[in-house]
């Protein structure tokens, strides 16, 4: 087993844990705000049904929260053990955001989640609403700090490489916080979570409505989800567009890979809606293009080109050759030559040091790399195009599907025609898992599209891993898969159990299995 297996297994382990973790996160992010909306209506109108809605959906929120909490901690386990060199490189930058995330998650969020469940009889109406609001704020703010750290990996601003400590060190906290990647990424991720939670509430409410169970409760839940979901999915699309623009500005490789843009086309670049990217031939077979779209989204102009993969590779070859010189300058500095010339050489070329480090995959003697080794490293600078190309298109297609569902649900409800349009309830019910598919694909685009770097253009992935054994990685990966799968099975079991019980699980005596009268008509149909 070679070091390549260690790198691949470390990546697989991190990907598996991150993807599993993010099965729980979106519902926490979105459902918390849906609870705020429901409880706000209860406080404003005093109608008991909104209190019941907050309690019932809060119960499902609680199941998801209990299953999801600490599932992210396994990634922190991996930082120090599997990704030691990466951890060392980013430790100075990640320290503050991760500490703040911990404070938000464990103090603000968890404390108020406890008060949410146990405070109904101890707090006043407004006091409890404030608690619900703080639960939502805490969960969303904890996501902010993680996404700031992640955005720095995509676009490492506000930091400098320190030759003595051999790590990146923070030079500007403001640059870290206001990283142009961070803002759109944060809001796009949150809005995606809100969309997922809205689809969940819309779908489950549809389940009740299709069975004519608790229509008064279900139609109100349906209405909240339709409105919140429509606003959220529009935000996802707008912020996705903004994310595309910032990607075009600072992550040209990722943009070219998403678009399978092999050549630098005449601006404005067209969007390849469909096709089969062929990395070996560097072309896309059977491409169906929409004129101007990529140029307009990625550059916000009609005369700025979107750089193609072939041209980017030429640029990368120049940077790798500069990186070899930066590497030589670093070796001189580390060997004790701290003269002005050695420092000036390194300072001039250090921006390309990461590109020089790409050669370490092929030769221990970076400064003497052969043209073949340089060519291999150049090819490595472009991630595998097809998975990113397809993941992006499926994600966007699903986003448009959600827009159709939420807009239809909203309009049908506004026209009070819900009972006559059972198809929208069936679509909503069967679409419940789809936001999770879209979200996971979004993460694949974001993280797989960053390869071959853990920190873009600074630290290659193959140098970031530790000297752990393949056996350790396989066993710990197996342990994580069993652990997360068990959690997911328990989550599904509990969710389905309480969804089937519905608001009857509150024991108020007002719902479905607790009353003997027959079903009533669905409200909002007359």
């Amino acid at each position: 087993m070679s070091s390549a297996d260690v790198v691949d297994l470390s990546r697989l382990q991190f990907a598996v844990t991150a993807l599993y973790h993010f099965l729980f996160v979106p519902l926490t992010l979105g459902l918390s705000w849906i609870l705020v909306i429901m409880e706000s209506v209860y406080v404003m109108t005093g109608k008991e049904v909104y209190r019941d809605m907050t309690k019932f959906w809060g119960k499902l929120f609680g199941i998801n929260f209990a299953m999801g909490i600490t599932t992210g901690i396994t990634m922190e386990f991996q930082f120090g053990t599997n990704w030691a060199y990466f951890s060392h490189y980013v430790g100075d930058i990640f320290g503050a955001p991760l500490a703040l995330e911990g404070l938000m998650a464990f103090f603000l969020e968890s404390t108020f989640v406890g008060l949410f469940f146990f405070g109904w009889d101890r707090l006043g109406k407004v006091g409890h609403l404030l608690v619900t609001f703080l639960v939502a704020l805490g969960s969303n703010l904890s996501a902010l700090w993680i996404l700031i750290a992640n955005a720095w990996m995509q676009n490492p601003v506000g930091a400098e490489f320190n030759v003595d400590t051999m790590r990146m060190e923070l030079t500007s906290f403001a640059d870290l916080i206001f990283n142009p990647i961070a803002g759109p990424k944060f809001v796009h991720t949150l809005a995606a979570g809100y969309t997922a939670a809205s689809m969940f509430v819309l779908g489950v409410s549809s389940y009740y409505l299709l069975r004519l169970r608790d229509p008064s409760f279900a139609v109100r839940s349906f209405a909240v989800a339709a409105g919140f979901g429509l606003a959220s999915v529009l935000s996802v699309i707008v912020l996705g567009d903004e994310s595309g623009y910032t990607t075009g500005e600072v992550q040209k490789v990722k943009l070219a890979t998403i678009e399978a843009e092999w050549e630098t086309a005449k601006p404005p670049a067209s969007f390849t809606a469909f096709g089969f990217p062929d990395q070996a031939a560097e072309k896309t077979h059977f491409a169906i293009k929409i004129p101007y779209l990529t140029g307009l989204i990625a550059t916000r102009s009609v005369d700025t080109p979107v750089t193609g993969i072939k041209e980017l590779k030429k640029e990368h070859e120049v940077r790798i050759r500069n990186g070899m010189k930066a590497y030589a300058a670093l070796q001189r500095l580390k060997s004790g030559d701290r003269g002005a010339e050695a420092k000036a050489d390194f300072d001039r070329l250090k921006v390309d040091l990461g590109y020089g480090l790409l050669l370490k995959k092929y030769t221990p003697m970076v400064v003497d790399a052969t043209p073949e080794q340089i060519s291999a490293a150049v090819n490595d600078t472009i991630p595998n195009v097809a998975p990113i190309f397809w993941s992006f298109r499926i994600m966007v297609g699903l986003g448009l599907w959600f827009l159709f569902i939420f807009a239809s649900a909203f309009l049908i409800l506004a026209r009070r025609r819900l009972a006559l349009n059972r198809w929208i309830m069936r679509l909503a019910l069967w679409s419940i898992p789809l936001p999770w598919v879209a979200i996971e694909l979004g993460w694949i685009v974001a993280e797989y599209g960053r390869q071959p770097w853990t920190i873009s253009e600074v630290l290659p992935t193959h140098l970031s891993t530790s000297s752990v054994t393949v056996g350790e990685l396989l066993f710990s990966l197996g342990g994580f898969i069993v652990f997360y799968t068990a959690l997911l099975v328990v989550e599904m079991y509990l969710m389905l159990k309480y969804i089937r019980l519905g608001p009857s699980s509150l024991g108020t005596g007002r719902y479905h299995s607790e009353i003997t009268t027959g079903p009533t008509t669905v409200q909002g149909t007359a």
């Binding site: 209990a66 901690i73 120090g80 990704w83 060392h88 430790g91 670093l330 070796q331 000297s467």
Partner: protein
């Protein structure tokens, strides 16, 4: 009816039953969640103990010399073959 407060700090015959009655007063969902959280904490601790208790970068920091050796000195593993 409210129970009288315990006057002795030592375990008495009724303490087990009071735990049992506290447990039985919880809703089935609360009981399920408490059990799951306890099992989860145990499993996470075991995983950490088995594989992650001796990180190479404790507190996200390593000896710079070790990093230097990794980045600047030849790697011990066989370099990748270029295809």
């Amino acid at each position: 009816m409210r129970r009288a407060p315990e006057l002795t700090p030592f375990p008495v015959a009724g303490s087990r039953s009071s735990t049992a009655s506290w447990w039985s007063r919880l809703s089935p969902l609360a009981r399920d969640i408490i059990v799951i959280l306890i099992v989860k904490a145990i499993v996470l601790t075991l995983l950490w103990y088995a594989f992650f208790r001796a990180p190479a970068a404790p507190r996200m920091k390593m000896d710079p010399v070790r990093v230097e050796q990794r980045f600047l000195a030849p790697l011990p593993e066989t370099p990748h073959v270029i295809r």
